[in-house]
């Protein structure tokens, strides 16, 4: 069932088009993420859904009814802000109970629900504290509890984990997934952190310069990016300039600068002489010592020029003939080794035909 439909929404600030003809359908119960670099218009889109800004054109439909004219306080949506926006003059319990108080619930009802909510976010003994007495993670949980207490149809989350440190953020991501599953509330999650988007969402919309580039499931976004922007924005990817020289139903043949002719899987709407890039994820690249036997036809001799060790994996920079550079990611599964290759080693670089793809410009 479609809960929210954003239909051809455009928002301008002067000459600047913040949101450019965006259309998205969000299913009830979905964890939907809008992912994009800062300034891509995702926060503007969120503010329009929440009702703080009105679109210049287009519609926002809640279960088929246009809600553009409904003020934020009467939309059954709540927002969790990046800075939490907890009321500093109210206790944690009063903060969480605020939406109930506004909707005219009795003191007794509020008490019961708030006590339950405090238990759910494991803050039972913090009810009488003030927000400034809480840690970042606790404030975050108060903000979630406040947003969910009167069971909104939709919870909008504006980079809610942005202010937390790495370790805490990972824990909160897990909590968030559980919270969403338990509450059964539709989430629209705004972020610029691609790993967060991949880890949390059912579906992701990639946004750039006010436009939606691709809407898909995380694995599909990662493995089958629709264009260069998506490929580059999500994860790391090797991109080598290429042009199409042969199109068939099963594959494309590319001429790649410096590497010659390379075959990749077929893709819709590609014509001969289209220019673009050959894209391969670093973890799909295999590198082996020169001596070893390789059984695929596709292989290049290269030289290790550098590496970047980050613990679980090491990224190697390999120089191929004709000044082409490629990055390869290898897991450090053997303990005690920071790297499998030394700078200056000559290696054989290869990848399977299926793991590469052509992305048009």
């Amino acid at each position: 069932m479609i809960l929210i439909e954003i239909r051809n929404v455009t928002k301008r600030f002067g000459d600047f088009i913040a949101v450019d003809n965006v259309s998205i359908e969000i299913q009830a119960g979905e964890f939907f993420t809008i992912l994009g670099p800062s300034g891509c218009g995702k926060t503007t889109l969120l503010r329009m859904i929440a009702g703080f800004d009105a679109p210049d054109s287009g519609q926002i439909l809640l279960e088929g009814k246009d809600i553009i004219d409904v003020p934020p306080e009467r939309r059954p949506f709540h927002t969790v802000f990046q800075s939490y926006a907890l009321f500093p003059h109210m206790t944690v319990a009063d903060n969480i109970g605020f939406p109930l108080k506004m909707s005219g619930k009795t003191r007794h009802e509020i008490m019961t629900l708030v006590t339950k909510a405090l238990e759910e976010v494991e803050l039972s003994q913090f009810g009488n504290r003030y927000p400034h007495e809480l840690s970042g993670g606790q404030k975050q949980r108060v903000a979630f509890a406040r947003g969910l207490i009167n069971q909104p149809r939709l919870l909008l989350l504006d980079e809610p984990l942005g202010a937390l440190d790495e370790k805490l953020r990972e824990n909160m991501q897990r909590e968030l997934i559980n919270l969403q599953a338990e509450a059964g509330v539709t989430f629209i999650y705004i972020t610029h952190a691609q790993n967060e988007a991949l880890a949390l969402s059912h579906r992701i919309a990639i946004m750039n310069q006010g436009k939606i580039e691709q809407v898909d499931e995380p694995a599909r976004i990662y493995n089958f990016p629709m264009n260069r922007f998506v490929a580059d924005f999500i994860g790391k990817i090797n991109m080598l300039d290429a042009s199409v020289i042969e199109v068939s139903s099963s594959h494309l043949k590319l001429r790649v600068t410096g590497l010659g002719e390379i075959t990749v899987p077929a893709k819709a709407c590609i014509k001969i002489n289209d220019r673009g890039v050959l894209a391969v994820r670093p973890e799909q690249i295999r590198i082996a010592p020169e001596a070893s036997e390789m059984n695929t036809g596709l292989q290049f001799i290269g030289k290790i020029k550098g590496f970047f060790y980050i613990g679980d994996v090491t990224t190697y920079n390999v120089e191929l003939p004709n000044n082409t550079w490629i990055e390869a990611l290898l897991p450090n599964s053997e303990p005690g080794h920071a790297k499998l290759f030394e700078i200056g080693d000559t290696v054989v670089v290869s990848w399977s035909e299926q793991s590469a793809q052509f992305l048009p410009n």
Binding site: E73, T91, M102, Y130
Partner: protein
């Protein structure tokens, strides 16, 4: 001042000298609580105190009601206009206090445009004309006029610091305009109201120039009493007593204010 209040007035004003006669066993220390007894013996002094309090409270409340919307307006204006508006609030301080009071004398005078308008309106309803000048009304108007900036400035400073995101959050969580004000803006502005109230209440309590110039014969306040004791009747001990009573009153009020505005979690 404390010491003076326990002494006797001199024959020609000032203080009576203290005689110390070494050979007398029960030497008169020259100190007495007579002035304090006198203060409480006649209800008229307590009455002036109470009246001054009433004026001060009334002025403070009206200042809050007038200053709050104005401070809100300034705090919500675009940043570039704020300084200009604050300057306009402070501008009257550029002219002398007494000149501003005398200006009110002209505005409220019997031949002023304001008097004419009010009295012709009253005449229309067959009500006898009123005299604006030399009345409690004139005193109150001038009190408010003079002290309004002292309420606006701390309130503005407070309101300006509020995080506008909190209002968005409140609206998002279902609060209408009135609820947003009452549950978010107002409680956060209380420290500003307390400090503004202290800045208005205390000077109003001790004010003597405004009742002197604009008030009628009956409109005296504590300040006038004290001034008269020192400069008029030259009864320094009683003047000192009145001053001390005023100081005590002010101290207890500020104590009360600071207790209300004490730094609890609420306003941190």
């Amino acid at each position: 001042m404390i010491l003076t209040s326990f002494r006797l007035p001199g024959e020609f004003g000032g203080l009576a000298p203290i005689y110390i006669l070494p050979d007398k066993a029960n030497a008169d220390s020259g100190l007495t609580i007579e002035t304090y007894q006198f203060f409480f013996s006649d209800f008229i002094y307590v009455e002036v105190f109470l009246k001054s309090f009433a004026v001060a409270i009334f002025t403070t409340i009206i200042c809050i009601t007038l200053a709050y919307p104005l401070a809100l307006l300034i705090a919500h204006s675009p940043r570039k206009f704020r300084n200009l508006m604050i300057m306009l609030v402070v501008l009257p301080f550029a002219s002398n206090f007494l000149i501003r009071i005398y200006a009110w004398m002209i505005i409220l005078g019997p031949e002023s445009a304001l008097s004419h308008i009010i009295n012709s309106a009253l005449a229309f309803f067959d009500i006898a004309p009123v005299t604006l000048l030399f009345s409690p009304f004139a005193v109150l108007i001038a009190m408010i006029y003079v002290h309004l900036p002292f309420m606006i400035l701390p309130l503005y400073t407070n309101l300006e610091k509020h995080d506008p995101l909190l209002l968005d959050a409140a609206q998002d969580l279902g609060a209408n305009a009135w609820q947003r004000f009452w549950y978010v803006t107002w409680p956060q502005s209380l420290p500003g109201i307390f400090s503004g109230s202290a800045l208005v209440f205390i000077p109003v309590l001790g004010m003597f120039a405004i009742p002197d110039i604009l008030g009628g014969t009956g409109d005296i306040m504590i300040g006038n009493l004290i001034k008269d004791q020192f400069l008029g009747t030259r009864d320094w001990p009683f003047g000192s007593t009145l001053s001390i009573m005023l100081t005590l009153a002010v101290l207890s009020i500020t104590g009360l204010f600071s207790w209300f505005a004490r730094p609890t979690g609420k306003f941190a």
